[in-house]
Structure formats: C-alpha cells, structure tokens
C-alpha cells in the first residue's frame, strides 16, 4: 500500500486554485477535482482547457480549477461543451456532471453528444442522489434506498430500477471511450486488521488521463465515477464508503464499456 501511495504526487498543482473546496468531508468531488488538476498539469493542457460547470455539487468548480469556465444550465453542459468545441476545436473541453444532471434532466444532451462523436470529455459523479438540493432520489438511487423523496425507500414499481448510464452509452457507436471507475477507497481485512486500498483511485486517475487523450484523438469520452454522499445518505463517511463496496458496485459494476482507440491497453 505504501508503494501505491508513493505514486500519488503531492505538492502544488498549477491547474488548481488555492481556494478550499465547499465539498463535504469524505465527498469524492474533492478527490476528482485533484485528479483532474494534476492530469491537466501533466498533460500541459491548462491554458487550452475550458471546463463547463454543471448544476449540482460541481457547479462551483470555477473556484477550484484554474482555467476558463462556462457555467451551464441544469443538464445542458454537454450541449454547451459541444457548441464551444465546434467553434474552437483547438480547445480541450470537459464537464463534471452529477447523476441528476446527466442521467435525469440532461440525458438527451449527453446521449446526443455521444451519438455524434462530439470530441468532448464528460465525467459523471454517480453518488446515487441529488446532493446539492438536499438528498432527493436520482435515477441512480438504488431500489429500496431512502432519500427525502423516497422516505420509505425507492419503489421500483413506481420509479423503475436504477438507470445505468455507462451501459447505455456503451451501446452508442459514436462514443469512443466509456468507462465506469470508482473514487471510493476499498476496505480490506488483513492480518493487522482493516486496511484501505487506493487501487480504485489510481485507476480513476488513469481514466481521467485517458478521457482527455481520447478527446485529443477526436473522440467522445465518458467516465462515470462511483462516489458517496454520506451527508445525504445519513451515514458516516466510512459507512458510506462501505455502502458503495457492498451495494452500489453490485448494481454498477466497474469496467470499460467502450474503447474505440484502445487507450486502456496502452
């Protein structure tokens, strides 16, 4: 584990500002922000990157990621990204959407961005809930899961089953890179007691890199990241991380759903 930890570079990231984030303790939005920032530094793309901030917990990303930003309306980030990219093809254009934004109100914009092979990068933070509005049901909320709008648990007879966006986009020929990764550390039993592996985070970092590289190759790139929302799940941070490990990941298995350019193997 210590060997793996050494691979994560610490220190000042030029693509990030010095502002502290507003994200709650244990929230993986902060983790993803750092992975994106360090990747932008490594690829040297900060000065030509524009982030489209989507409505949800990532809407204030312009305070944290040190590049140009457009703040889109709820669900419209892929359309705004596409409009910009089409008139400024030299730019690297990406967005971080939540599951309410991407899978519910903005599903059309997301699907058509993929269907047209729009060369943009979309990161989806799937925490199974509307975080910023205070914990309402999302399309990704697990059956039976309690939220403020499903106080007796999500009833699939009424609201259907969990929407699997990666699987959906994986079926779309225009998409060049579709992957589900996780930003949640995994708890393991060892002889010395419980330990936590950051294997998922290293894979997530690799996925961020790949998603930018695929855009540079002219393809549509999408990475879904399983995440937690301990505050709205009404759990401790550790309980929330365990919930992903025990439940979420069974409904939303990690994997590569589409990889036209073969970037995963490189």
């Amino acid at each position: 584990m210590s060997q793996l930890a050494l691979k994560v570079k610490l220190g000042k990231i030029k693509s990030l500002t010095d502002n502290p984030t507003h994200y709650c303790a244990g929230c993986e939005h902060g983790t993803l922000t750092r992975l994106i920032g360090s990747t932008m530094d490594e690829l040297g793309i900060r000065e030509k990157t524009v982030m489209i901030d989507s409505v949800g917990c990532s809407v204030l990303a312009y305070n944290y990621i040190n590049c140009d930003h457009i703040v889109a309306a709820h669900g419209r980030a892929p359309a705004v990204a596409a409009g910009l990219k089409r008139v400024r093809p030299e730019l690297m254009v990406f967005t971080v959407q939540g599951d309410g934004d991407a899978a519910s109100i903005g599903l059309l914009e997301l699907i058509y961005a993929a269907q047209r092979s729009t060369p943009i990068t979309v990161f989806l933070v799937n925490n199974g809930i509307y975080g910023m509005t205070g914990g309402q049901m999302a399309p990704t909320t697990l059956a039976g899961q309690v939220t403020t709008t499903t106080p007796y648990g999500r009833d699939p007879a009424l609201t259907g089953l969990e929407l699997d966006v990666s699987k959906l986009l994986g079926e779309i020929e225009g998409a060049a890179y579709v992957k589900r990764a996780s930003l949640v550390v995994t708890e393991l039993e060892s002889q010395r007691g419980k330990v936590y592996t950051i294997k998922n985070l290293l894979d997530a970092k690799k996925s961020v890199e790949n998603a930018f590289k695929v855009q540079a190759l002219g393809g549509f790139a999408f990475v879904e990241f399983l995440s937690t929302c301990s505050i709205n799940w009404k759990m401790s941070v550790l309980e929330a991380k365990r919930f992903v490990q025990d439940h979420t990941i069974k409904k939303f298995p990690l994997g590569v759903y589409r990889d036209t350019f073969g970037v995963e193997k490189k």
Binding site: E47, K48, T49, V50, A72, V80, L84, K85, R86
Partner: protein, 358 residues
C-alpha cells in the same frame, strides 16, 4: 461582399443576411414556418463566398440547439438559431442564462398562431415573451421586428452588431407572413463587423486570468451589483438604440401604430386615405425593445389619436399606452388565429375612431 439582388422568401433572406453578417455557427431545430432558415444555411454550408461560416448542425431539440449557441457564443463566435413560437418557449431557459452571462447571440422567432400548437398562420402573440423577458428573472432581449423581406435580410447584421456591442442576446421577431412572403431583396456591399471578444471569451487562459462565463452568484450583494450593472446597460440601450419608422405622421390626426407585416398593411391604408385627403399616418416600431417611446410620446403631445393594430389580442398596446400617457385616445384592432386584418377593416376602425370624417 459584392452587392447582389435576389428573389427570396423572408426566411431565406434572413439566412443570407446572417451569412453576409459573418455568421460563424448555426444550430438548428426544424419547425414550421421557420424551417427555410436552417434549410438555406445547410445548403450554403461550405460555400466559399462565406469563409466565416464554420459550422452547421441540426440538434436533437430546441434546448440542445440554443445551449450549443450559448456555448459557441461564450467562445466568441457569431452564433444563431431560429425557431417558431412553440420552440421559442423552449429557448427561454437559455435566453435567461445568456442575459445574466452577458453573452451575445442571435435567436429568430418566426411567430405563428398560438397558444399551444396553434397553427402555422402568422401572429404577433410572442410580443410579451420576446420583449418582457420570457424566461425567469429580470432581463431584456434586444428585439428587432422586420416588416419586409428586405428587412429580414438586414436584421441579422443589426442584431449581431447590437448583441456584441452590449453583450446581450438579440431576437429577431418575425411572423409567418414575413417569413413566407417572397420579394426582391438587395444585399448591400458590406464586410462583417469585427467584434473584440478578448476580454471575456472562453478561449483558454493563456497568459491571462481565467474567464468565467457565469450566471451564478451566491453572494447577494455581488448579485445585486452584477444585475445593477446590467440594468445600467439596458438604460443605455433604451437611450441610444431604438429604431422606428414614421410615415406621414406630421400633419396626421390619427396614427396607426403597428409592426411587422401589419405595418405593411397599415401603410396601404394610409396611402389610400391620403388619396382621399384624410390625414392619417403610420408609426412603426422596428425595435420592439427598446420600445421607441419618446417619439411616440411626442406624437401624442401634438394631440393625435392612435389606432394600435396587432396580430394578437393586445400586447404592444400596453407599451403604446405607457408611451402616450393616459390623455391620449388609443383604440385597438386585433386579429389572431392566423388571420390578418384587411385594409378595409383597418380603415373602418379608423372611421369609428372619428378621426376620419365619414
């Protein structure tokens, strides 16, 4: 661009007018009676006559199209979309955002009969939606109302110029009649205006601070200041940019107030009555916002009476009444459902107004 003369539908003329004005990107969604605009722009894509025209795409929805326009505008491009009334309702979301984000782009509404699906005939019933800020929040669009095919061709240039000058979306509010009407149209020799967008466009933060194109401000005081700045801009637009046509108003006892296709019909009435030595005139707002209230007020102070004619049940008449004050007589003739008033109907209404001797 070399001067040329063509015989075109209003919608086609508008498309060519946008190209002559240096259109960079068009995002389409088809809807009758505006579809000749995207059809013409799809056909002309790649034409070497228009080197600035870089991108055409048919989007999957009105929302997607207008949000693509918004993204392209944030990148500093001259971007446009066109629609017709039911689609214009869907554009409101992005227009509210863009007004707050101070983004310049052009939206066209070829107004048809409503509400709901209505029909494909002409109406001017989107006047309120266009001029009063049809989306949420307190904002204005710059609204141009062409009255002929020739003006359909000229409006994109004026619209882009005003939109970029003030960093605000502009709307061309046409109607099904003007969109479908076929007339001779002349394209004057002109070069597209060069707009400086370097202070705000999202082109990559190289050797400068990041540009944040945003409508979100959680700090109430800062939001107050941002919107106050936009209000000041609106006041400047109101003071400087209103366009109108006055036709034989000077000695007129009664003035017809009308815009778009209705003003064409009203002009015919004025000519007819003038031949009978009856003193009537026409006042035609060309910008619906800013509404040309001062010139109209001046006419009222000279004791004239007014007949407001619209293709709706009375929308612009509110601005007319506010402009002329409570002392002036303002009568109304409205038609809706896709119908337009005949010259005789307008004439008989003028006679009932008792400004025209029987």
């Amino acid at each position: 661009m070399a001067k040329q003369r063509l015989y075109l539908k209003g919608n086609e003329a508008l498309a060519y007018g946008a190209l002559e004005a240096g259109l960079n990107a068009y995002f389409a969604y088809p809807i009758t009676p505006s579809s000749e605009i995207p059809e013409t722009l799809a056909k002309e894509f790649g034409n070497k006559r228009y080197p600035d025209y870089k991108f055409f795409l048919q989007a999957a929805s009105e929302l997607e199209a207008v949000n693509m326009v918004l993204g392209a505008a944030a990148g500093g491009a001259r971007a446009m979309t066109a629609t017709s009334s039911p689609g214009f309702s869907l554009k409101q979301e992005a227009l509210s955002y863009a007004a707050a984000m101070e983004l310049p782009f052009l939206v066209v509404d070829i107004c048809r009969a409503g509400p709901g699906l209505g029909n494909l005939g002409p109406e001017q019933s989107d006047y309120f939606q266009g001029t009063k800020g049809g989306g949420h929040g307190d904002y204005k669009l710059i609204v141009l109302a062409p009255s002929s095919v020739q003006e359909m061709a000229l409006c994109p240039r004026i619209g882009f110029d005003l939109a970029f000058k003030y960093r605000n979306p502009a709307l061309i509010l046409g109607d099904a009649f003007t969109g479908q009407l076929k007339e001779d149209v002349e394209f004057p020799e002109l070069t597209p205006t060069n707009y400086d967008t370097s202070a705000w466009a999202t082109t990559g933060a190289k050797n400068r601070e990041p540009h944040i194109v945003n409508s979100l401000e959680l700090d109430y005081q800062k939001q107050y200041e941002h919107i106050s700045k936009i209000y000041e801009k609106y006041q400047q637009i109101e003071a400087n940019e209103s366009l109108f046509e006055e036709y034989l108003t000077e000695d007129a006892e009664a003035v017809v107030v009308a815009f778009g296709i209705v003003a064409r019909i009203a002009k015919g009435v004025v000519n007819r009555l003038r031949q009978k030595k009856i003193k009537v005139g026409l006042f035609r707002p060309i910008t619906l916002w800013p509404f040309p209230k001062n010139p109209l007020k001046k006419l009222a102070s000279n004791g004239k009476r007014f007949l407001d004619v619209e293709l709706n049940s009375g929308q612009m008449i509110q601005d007319v009444r506010l402009s002329v004050g409570s002392g002036a007589v303002v009568d109304f003739l409205g038609k809706w459902g896709g119908l337009v008033p005949t010259e005789s109907e307008i004439e008989s209404k003028l006679r009932r107004l008792e400004v025209v001797a029987v």
